[in-house]
Subunit: 530 residues, 2 copies
């Protein structure tokens, strides 16, 4: 049909162009690990990114090549993102906390050609550069001596036009470090990144505007810092980075820079509360805290609410760009009693435009949104993975659904609630028992320090729960007391068939229960009644 | 490269699917012209739209066909939009206030096959159906007798899957009624409409969430009601429609339904203020008023501010979907003195992501953002027209810029300010004199009822301003007094070379000064000094 609207590719570089043009003087502040601070702005970042693009081309980096970072949150890291993406490359953020074998696997699998890294990670580089097979250039990101990013930039003039191309071109690569098998790479595209940024800016998520001051505590190497570095230029917000994750530092920075929104995992807030109490200080500018990574405890949400901070759970994963749900205040919020608000906010939030969620049982049936029917949570949408980097098959089913590996219910009001990981859920007589809920209930029993629930094979019920408990140092709590406590909290058929006591439980490097090890440890355990 | 994100076409129907799924019980309320009210919700609208799609297919309407409406704001009108778009058709909203020859031209040029209309416009239909050459079916939208939209829907079951297709398919057609030549059709696409809706939802524009209650006073037939009917389902907002534009009705509806955001032209608020004063009532729920169509007077903005309502100018045109700028509060807003806020809000707002604006002089040079250099305002972006419907050439220049026909300056803070229409600006010695500013200054002179400034040919300066003035009934204000008044308000070289007095000025049907007629009237006028 004759007529129509203009042709524009949704390219990530247009975000930076917009911010430099319309909010050029809006600052990007970095507080470095050594206590020093540098200040740039969107205009300065655009200049740096153009110079970095020139430097990469001078190195022989070509469109589609992967450029890796091993770095904390700072303005130079962001310049590396936009410079790499701007010249048509793919920025690959590597999590420096991974094990050596993962660091080696990931960089080699990605075929990274350049590594930008913080001086603090020099020991990692020294240890692994012999095993990294594709990296040709190593560039230190902080400081300004020879061979640093600063020196690279100084050699260029910034007279550079962004690479053009399709909005379906890749722009970023993030690996997920699963508990089994090799890490898998999620290859974000310009289009998916831009649409996701539009979501993050919306009132359903960060409600970001040019008046916002955003401090992402979530690392840039973790699922694109939840999209905040792309949402900030879209909105023209001020960005504040801290290269160290220390509550006193963060608190000082938030108050000095007038931070209105912060994003991080729950432990950030535990440390912050301790600091606020010890220092007798407050966060008067903070308006919103978005929490992801794992569920925030009810008491944490309540304290933030009492501080006058709007609290939102964001749920998602590397495979979902990552934001998939957000706990935005619904109709009538102001009139809700506090308990109802807390009930709502402890769940994972509602489903924004662009995201579809469904819970599916083992038979493949889509379960009702009744707040009770737990099933495997599936997702689809324009910012959800289709195929992992280098994989030979799609990661989605015939209907386009990606299995998140989580077990969840969806409530009648559309709120989603994660109840377990699907590999941890205990399948008893065709029904699912949430290991997480059982554990949470058990640690509410006096004398219980930590608890893990795993499924043990059962001839009649398929699986039945075994509760593995670590007692508090001075406690002699026994099975009877624990089961009696649980009887008042969970359904009768959820009660563990047995409780065993151990001195300690196995954990991952990041402090999560290592259920695989626990299941291995109790592989030969036989329930008495079985 | 192997790997990537999911494939999703940005189709308008996904907005309705989302709202029906996640905010299904969020209401769509209509207050009809006869005082009755009907209440539906997003789930109900989705059902109606599916049934309407079935009915259109049953009529033989095919993908890409145009389906017209001649209707006020109500839920059935919205169902016609989503039903038509959902079956792959193009909804063509016709402005019932146009002249008959325009109504005939537009429907024939669009080759509309169906017309949905309000019973109130039966006289138009009776008068023009003999001249409409392509319309095969006429369907009344209101009421529920035989042949009505209601009857059509009742014959269908709603078991319908939306038409699939490209996001670049057309979905909507709106004609601009220029002052010269035939009206021109702007053909919106699924993709442009969806990206524009994401903009409208963002904090820079409406800051729409599922807690919002939106009453668009702007007609559905006017530039897609500024995108509100697409933004509302995206956010899950409640929509409230009034089929009549009467201040008492609107006020009652706003207070009864808890309307938080309203959008309309300035005259809506003039009438509302008069009603509020006369009835001694208020609008306690209203949080935001977005104003477009023409510039809101400073006093109007101030009164809304004093009511605790956030005021935003939205600027745009049919060719820009329409939102192109929005007066969003910038950094430090809360600390600004009131006068500074008013100065800011009387301008046309800032440039959001997705929109590029530039002002260009007659030599084609891009002018600086100095708040003083006035030039022709050009725009480009993914929701800006490329080519008018049925046109044989693009409406944009080689760099993709569309000439808005407005004259504007851009201030150093990125705020855009319209100063004139480019066909009305007076070009004197290579510099531009704003006819609008001259007129506004002139009506500030005691004794002046109305004033129009036009350019008169001048051998040395190319053009010089002539001021045409209507005196107030009891006034004998003369040229000397007017020029003396202007001397204190405008630059010396802006002062009119002559002032002439007339009994009345020519106006368009919508009350705007008809400068074309005035220029014709003074075609042979010679300036004394020339």
């Amino acid at each position: 049909m004759l007529g129509g609207m203009q042709d524009f590719e949704l390219r990530v570089s247009t975000l930076l162009d917009h911010a430099a043009r319309e909010h050029g003087a809006r600052e990007i502040v970095t507080r470095w690990a050594d206590g020093s601070e540098t200040r740039s702005d969107w205009r300065g970042l655009a200049h740096d990114a153009r110079r970095l693009a020139q430097a990469l081309e001078r190195m022989g980096i070509r469109r589609g090549d992967r450029v890796a970072t091993l770095a904390m949150n700072h303005g130079h890291h962001l310049a590396a993102w936009y410079g790499t993406i701007g010249m048509g490359g793919v920025i690959h953020t590597i999590n420096p906390r991974l094990f050596d074998d993962q660091l080696v696997y990931i960089a080699n699998h990605a075929e990274d050609r350049v590594l930008f890294y913080d001086r603090a990670f020099q020991p990692i580089v020294d240890r692994l550069r012999g095993q990294w097979t594709s990296i040709e250039r190593y560039v230190v990101m902080d400081g300004d001596g020879p061979g640093t990013l600063h020196a690279l930039l100084e050699a260029e003039d910034g007279d550079y036009a962004w690479a053009e191309g399709s909005e379906r071109d890749p722009c970023m690569l993030c690996y997920t470090s699963g508990t089994t098998g090799h890490p898998k790479g999620v290859l974000y595209e310009h289009r998916s990144t831009l649409l996701h940024a539009m979501l993050v800016v919306s009132p359903a998520v960060l409600a970001l505007s040019s008046a916002s001051v955003l401090l992402p505590v979530v690392p840039l190497f973790h699922a694109a810092a939840w999209g905040t570095p792309f949402a900030a230029p879209l909105a023209g917000a001020k960005l504040v980075f801290s290269a160290v994750n220390d509550a006193a530092v963060l608190c000082g920075l938030m108050n000095r820079e007038g931070v209105t929104i912060s994003s991080g995992v729950p432990t950030v807030w535990l440390a912050m509360f301790a600091h606020l109490d010890a220092a007798g200080t407050a966060l008067p500018h903070l308006r919103m805290a978005t929490i992801g990574g794992s569920a925030a405890p009810r008491a944490m949400i309540e304290r933030l609410m009492d501080m006058g901070v709007e609290v939102k759970h964001l749920w998602g994963m590397t495979e979902t760009s990552p934001v998939a749900t957000a706990g935005a205040p619904p109709v009538g919020w102001a009139d809700w009693p506090k308990d109802r608000k807390l009930d709502f906010l402890t769940k994972q939030g509602q489903i924004p435009f662009g995201v579809e969620l469904t819970v599916i049982d083992d038979a493949g049936a889509h379960l009702p949104r009744d707040g009770a029917s737990a099933g495997r949570l599936h997702i689809r949408g324009p910012w959800v993975v289709k195929r992992y980097f280098g994989a030979e098959a799609d990661a989605i089913d015939a209907d386009g659904w990606f299995d998140t590996g989580d077990v969840a219910v969806i409530h009648p009001d559309g709120t989603m609630q994660i109840t377990d990981r699907s590999k941890d859920v205990i399948k008893s007589g065709g029904e699912w028992i949430s290991s997480v809920e059982l554990e949470n209930a058990a640690v509410g029993c006096p004398g219980v320090a930590e608890a893990a629930a795993i499924g043990i094979a059962h001839p009649r019920w398929d699986e039945r729960p075994l509760l593995v408990v670590v007692r508090k140092p001075d406690s002699d709590v026994d099975e009877g007391a624990i089961v009696a406590h649980l009887s008042g909290v969970v359904a009768k058929w959820w009660l563990p068939d047995a409780v065993v006591f151990v001195d300690s439980l196995p954990h991952t490097a990041t402090g999560k229960l290592l259920k695989t090890a626990l299941r291995e440890q109790f592989r030969d355990y036989r329930l008495v009644a079985a």
